[in-house]
């Protein structure tokens, strides 16, 4: 695969006479790999460890609002004392209160349904783009990315104006005579689905497009030529060949949608339970940093662990395919 060849760094053979050229090449090769690892280490792993540490602490009326805090001046014994104060109480608390479990489940369900609809809507869009004349494709790509030019927050606010009972959508539907009472969409799950599908659609369309664009259309013709009607050809040829794009698109939508808090907060109203919103409330309303940290750690594990299994399975399948 291309990824593996890209990741292979030119390594200097230890037996070879060191020449300046190869040394330099080896060094730059390593450097290129060090940069993403350093990035992950500093901007992901270290913050995660800090969050994890806070999740093991207790709330305190202090600044920062938890204890223990590391105090390097207390020396090794002081540090050890701090370590002994750590406990998993916050995690136990999460399982105690059904609010958190419900919020997790509800988040996953809402994210899954939204991902499904994003796929349903994104696939025809990506397919149409991939089949469009090559001269039009850059323009279509631009149009998909165009919404990113305005603030995400403003775009979600705009949906309030569209979806509210006296909003644009209801006015239009009443004007055309399809309905005579305004539909209640705002502050329901439907509004959240609309918001998430709308906001994350580009993340679905782009990987799908790149997978479909690579596909040779003569494969579909060959399938039809061999007696396969168009719909069946879609499921037997187009769909399996688009699978990498489908997986990438679904992950790109599902993961951020699970932790989403702006959309449920603005469009979903007060009764919606999503873990991102719960996290926000714990952090900023309750100022309970340890519990919100525990919520964040569980959320991360929930998303990372299945993904790791999935990637392992895919790598295995790929190896067998070779």
């Amino acid at each position: 695969m291309a990824e593996t060849t890209l990741a292979t760094a030119p390594s200097a053979s230890p037996a070879a006479v060191p020449q300046q050229g190869t040394w330099l090449a080896a060094l730059t090769g390593r450097l290129v790999i060090i940069i993403p690892y350093a990035w992950l280490l500093i901007l992901f792993l270290v913050p995660f460890l800090i969050v994890f540490k806070i999740s093991l602490s207790q709330t305190a009326i202090a600044m920062p609002p938890y204890s223990p805090t590391f105090d390097l001046s207390a020396g090794i014994t002081g540090l050890w004392e701090s370590f002994r104060e750590f406990s998993f109480d916050n995690y136990l608390w999460l399982t105690d209160d059904p609010l958190y479990v419900n919020a997790y489940v509800s988040s996953v369900v809402i994210a899954a349904i939204s991902t499904f609809f994003a796929l349903l809507i994104g696939f025809p869009i990506a397919y149409g783009m991939a089949r469009a004349p090559a001269t039009v494709r850059p323009l279509l790509l631009m149009l998909v990315i165009l919404p990113f030019w305005t603030s995400f927050l403003i775009r979600v606010y705009a949906w309030i104006g569209i979806l509210k009972p006296e909003g644009l959508l209801n006015q239009f539907l009443i004007w055309t005579g399809i309905i005579d009472q305004p539909l209640i969409i705002l502050n329901t799950h439907t509004a959240i689905f609309i918001g998430i599908v709308y906001s994350y659609l580009p993340f679905m369309v782009l990987p799908l497009y790149s997978a479909l664009e690579k596909m040779d259309y003569s494969l579909i013709e060959a399938a039809q030529d061999l007696g396969c009607p168009p719909i069946s050809a879609f499921w037997k040829i187009t769909f399996p060949l688009a699978m990498p794009g489908i997986v990438a698109g679904c992950l790109l939508v599902f993961i951020p949608a699970t932790g989403e808090f702006v959309i449920p907060d603005l469009l979903g109203g007060s009764q919606t339970l999503m873990i991102g919103k719960t996290l926000w409330n714990e952090f900023f309303s309750n100022r309970d940093w340890p519990v919100s940290s525990a919520v964040a750690v569980i959320l991360l594990l929930m998303l990372v662990v299945p993904m790791m299994f999935f990637q392992q399975a895919q790598a295995k399948a790929q190896e067998q395919g070779r």
Binding site: D216, S218, L219, E221, A222, A223, Q224, D225, L226, G227, C228, P229, P230, S232, I237, P240, L241, G321, R322
Partner: protein, 379 residues
């Protein structure tokens, strides 16, 4: 009876007025927007024929094949297969299969899955599919590659898989779009003969699209030469080569010398053509050229003899000098500049290792040819 070329053919249904053509194009026109790809074209192909559509890119040959496969519908006219009008029949219901130029092998399926694809669509029982796939793998000598994916095969192996997949369903007609285009020269030559054997053994009708005239000449029973969406000539390879009907065909197939002139004298069979410089050419097969008309005398390089002395008793002799020559091993090609300035190509087979009559650059030379060595073209 005198015959053109050296091959005596026993298979020639097109000469039999009672034979019914298998595939018929009837006044077929295909337009893409303003562009006319196929222009009021009519063509008849017979059962078990190896038929080649030959032409430069953009001549409409691929469009013809795609219309036969059902990927494009004619703008007007009809296409009949075994008496049945094909209009409106989708590709997946036509009894024809196509071998694609890009091979179009399904990348996510193994070789055997690729070959079995069409059979599964038919709903053939699994045991029969397995047997047919095994037969096909044997036919194209790929038994040990059954489990491989297309990207693990060489170009030649992929071509064989594509071929096996397209004949697995035993179609009435096999359409081949530039079947050998992606292969290197040596492999191409080998595969040409394999394709011919396959066609003979399976008794299928083959319609092959190619831009390579050598390929068409080698494999096909008959060739249709296309230009700008129209048929220029349909004939056996020997007829196309030895009796082209127009300047276009003569130029398109092989090397040719075109001696332009006007018909000075015309009797029942013979004619005399006066060239631009006044040189006279006596010809025997003047066709439909009338006295006074402007014609071209087309003669192949190998029909012209080059000698350093003026030959005795030849019907047509012209004087010139060696302008250029190329020694190709099996033959030598001479470019002779005639007195009137025209350069004529002549080739001589090097049948012995030592040439008795060596010619070199700027030597005085005479070219000579028989009255029936070329054809008179009015178009």
């Amino acid at each position: 009876m005198k015959s053109l070329g050296s091959i005596r053919r026993s298979f020639s249904p097109w000469t039999d007025p009672a034979a019914k053509p298998y595939i018929v194009f009837e006044n077929v026109t295909k337009k893409f927007g303003d562009f006319t790809a196929v222009n009021n074209l009519s063509l008849a192909i017979y059962e078990r024929e190896f038929f080649a559509l030959l032409g430069a890119s953009g001549c409409g040959k691929s469009t013809l094949l795609r219309m036969l496969a059902g990927f494009d519908e004619p703008t007007s006219g009809r296409i009949l297969l075994d008496g049945q009008d094909l209009r409106g029949i989708p590709p997946y219901r036509r009894p024809v299969n196509m071998m694609f130029q890009s091979y179009a092998l399904f990348p996510h399926m193994s070789v055997e899955q690729n070959i079995a694809f069409g059979l599964k669509q038919e709903g053939m029982p699994k045991a029969d599919i397995d047997k047919r796939v095994a037969d096909m793998l044997k036919l194209v000598k790929l038994e040990q590659f059954a489990k491989r994916k297309p990207h693990q095969l060489s170009g030649g192996q992929r071509q064989r898989v594509a071929l096996a997949r397209s004949v697995a369903k035993r179609p009435k007609v096999l359409l081949l779009d530039e079947p050998l285009g992606a292969l290197d020269k040596k492999l191409r030559e080998e595969t040409q003969f394999e394709l011919m054997d396959l066609q003979q053994n399976l008794g299928l009708t083959f319609v092959v699209v190619t831009h390579d005239q050598e390929e068409a000449m080698t494999m096909a029973d008959r060739i249709a030469i296309l230009d700008k969406g129209q048929v220029m000539q349909v004939a056996t390879p020997a007829e196309v080569y030895e009796a082209p009907v127009s300047r276009f065909v003569a130029n398109f197939v092989g090397n040719v010398n075109m001696l332009e002139g006007t018909v000075a004298e015309r009797s029942e069979k013979t004619a005399t053509i006066t060239g631009a410089s006044g040189a006279q050419i006596r010809v025997e097969n003047a066709g439909d050229a009338t006295a006074g008309s402007t014609v071209a005398f087309a003669i192949r390089p190998e029909k012209i003899k080059v000698s350093s002395r003026k030959p005795d008793g030849a019907a047509n002799v012209m004087e010139g000098e060696i302008y250029d020559l190329a020694y190709l091993g099996d033959m030598t090609v001479y470019h002779v500049r005639l007195v009137d300035g025209q350069v004529v190509k002549a080739s001589a087979l090097n049948s012995s290792r030592i040439t008795e009559d060596p010619l070199s650059w700027n030597d005085k030379a005479w070219i000579s040819f028989a009255p029936d060595a070329g054809v008179v073209l009015t178009r």
